[in-house]
């Protein structure tokens, strides 16, 4: 198992409020790492720290290190970092342009202008997101006309189009119907072959279904991280056990 991301004593604040305390975690290549925990435990903050999106909030500041392939991400420019680490947000956010243009936005930003190349990239990304069959005949239609589940898969395609190494998911299936959820989980399983994925979810059962390892966050601290099978059957911490059993949440 090759390590791809490592955090060292990562501590994060929004203003005076500490939202992450001393997080030391390793993420391995091509795994799906689940991140579970109740609301406000810092899961999303942790996720967004990896691609520095937290800095969009002017009150954010952090201490500690985040290493991507042994390199401190502070040494990497924002836009380069975010090309390597893509993110899917919890509410499907599509731009008010066509389906095609949504997916092509990323590649165009990165300098790909030739139509034939863009066509190829768009189709490839939509296929990997399990959306191609449903939209192949209406690529020029407004993306806002798609259903919630389709829009979310469009967001996945959009991220895949920039060819990241790592994909972050921030509760991607909240508010989606079971069928859409199943399709997205299916896509994630297929993507494992070429991408590292980190999935933040409120749905412990989903984490159990698709992740290989799982991390439990509570109140900004990493309580426990282990192989999913072990975490869910014999967790080391009482807190983990209680949370998984639904005794609090």
């Amino acid at each position: 198992m090759v390590e791809i991301i490592k955090t060292k004593n990562l501590t994060a604040y929004f203003g005076k409020k500490c939202v992450l305390k001393n997080i030391n975690i390793e993420v391995y290549k091509n795994e799906i790492l689940g991140v579970i925990g109740p609301a406000n435990s810092g899961k999303t903050t942790f996720l967004k720290a990896l691609n520095r999106l937290n800095y969009l909030n002017p009150s954010y500041h952090e201490e500690g290190e985040i290493l991507l392939e042994r390199e401190n991400i502070k040494k990497i420019k924002d836009n380069v970092l975010r090309k390597k680490i893509g993110i899917i947000f919890s509410l499907p956010q599509v731009l008010p342009i066509s389906i095609y243009d949504n997916v092509a936005y990323g590649p165009k930003i990165h300098g790909i202008r030739k139509k034939s190349m863009l066509d190829e990239i768009v189709e490839d990304a939509l296929r990997k997101a399990y959306l191609w069959e449903e939209v192949k005949d209406r690529l020029r239609e407004a993306a806002t006309k798609l259903s919630g589940g389709q829009q979310q898969r469009l967001c996945i395609a959009r991220t895949l189009a920039i060819e990241p190494q790592i994909i972050l998911y921030d509760e991607p299936c909240s508010g989606l119907d079971p069928i859409s959820t199943a399709k997205i989980e299916e896509a994630m399983r297929e993507l494992k072959k070429h991408y590292t994925q980190i999935l933040v979810t409120n749905n412990t059962k989903q984490a159990a279904r698709i992740s290989q390892r799982c991390a439990f966050f509570l109140m900004g601290e990493l309580i426990e991280i282990n192989k999913t099978s072990i975490l869910f059957t014999s967790p080391q911490s009482r807190l983990t056990d209680d949370y998984i059993r639904g005794k609090f949440g």
Partner: protein
């Protein structure tokens, strides 16, 4: 008198006040229309004045006003949009930013004659442009900045934050995000604000008094360093400095000036309604 009667009376007074405001507006417009419409014909709009302004048309003044509008836009639009982008997308919440905002408030309150004096001192004298279209447009441009900046800033802030987040998360730089993901959706507001601002500039007299306006020029301007005739100044001149000017001509000039200003205002309002309806999000 019970409360309901008091309310009826009070509302009646308020209504009367509003009427007192509204009636003169309509009255003025109809008065100008009635007295000026007879002057409006092809000759009036396309011929220069003759016989000491008492005959002929106002063509050079119309052309001059159009030149001033275009020139003002060339200078004020880029600067206004860039400043607004700075305020909306780059500025941090600090003293410098508050200073800029204060500066905008003050620029919008400076009397138009002070702009004229400033434009004269800076552009005509100091920078040696002389009384010219260039000096006039630069003066009008600075005067137009506050409106354009405010309109642009509002248009930018109306674009949802999620757009920026999406673009940045796909690896775009800040400027790429602004250019491809924010600005395209703000053009409606920017256009509306610009046209409104230009319509005001078109009607201004004081800023152009010493910077560009001429009473009579026998030829149309040939370069930006030439003086020019302009509708507002023309109206002022013929109503205060030309004795026995035929009523038709002065009212006709007023009508054309109001016409141009109103048409621009109308275009701005129509655009505003159009973009509001086309709301993409």
């Amino acid at each position: 008198m019970n409360a309901h009667l008091r309310e009826k009376f009070a509302f009646f007074i308020l209504g009367i006040a509003t009427l007192i405001v509204i009636l003169p507006i309509l009255g003025t417009l109809f008065y100008i229309l009635k007295n000026g419409i007879s002057a409006i014909n092809w000759e009036f709009l396309t011929q220069p004045p003759r016989n000491g302004m008492k005959e002929g048309g106002i063509f050079p003044a119309i052309v001059g006003t159009i030149y001033l509008i275009i020139g003002t836009m060339i200078f004020s639009l880029p600067l206004g949009v860039l400043s607004a982008i700075y305020l909306s997308e780059y500025a941090k919440d600090n003293f410098f930013t508050r200073l800029i905002k204060l500066a905008i408030v003050n620029l919008s309150g400076v009397p138009s004659i002070v702009y004229g004096l400033f434009g004269f001192a800076l552009f005509v004298i100091f920078l040696k442009f002389g009384t010219s279209i260039l000096a006039g447009c630069l003066t009008l441009a600075i005067m137009s900045l506050p409106v354009i900046i405010t309109a642009t800033k509002e248009a930018l802030e109306a674009v949802p934050q999620s757009f920026r987040e999406i673009s940045l998360s796909l690896g775009a730089t800040k400027w790429q995000t602004i250019r491809y993901c924010v600005l395209p959706y703000a053009w409606g507001g920017i256009l509306t604000g610009t046209i409104l601002s230009l319509s005001r500039a078109a009607g201004e007299t004081a800023p152009i008094l010493f910077t560009v306006a001429a009473f009579y020029l026998p030829y149309l301007p040939r370069s930006i360093f030439d003086q020019v005739m302009a509708l507002p100044y023309h109206l002022y001149a013929i109503s205060t400095q030309v004795p026995n000017i035929p009523k038709k001509i002065s009212f006709g000039t007023a009508l054309v000036l109001i016409g141009i200003v109103f048409i621009m205002n109308l275009i701005s309002s129509i655009l505003r309604a159009y973009f509001r309806r086309k709301k993409l999000w």
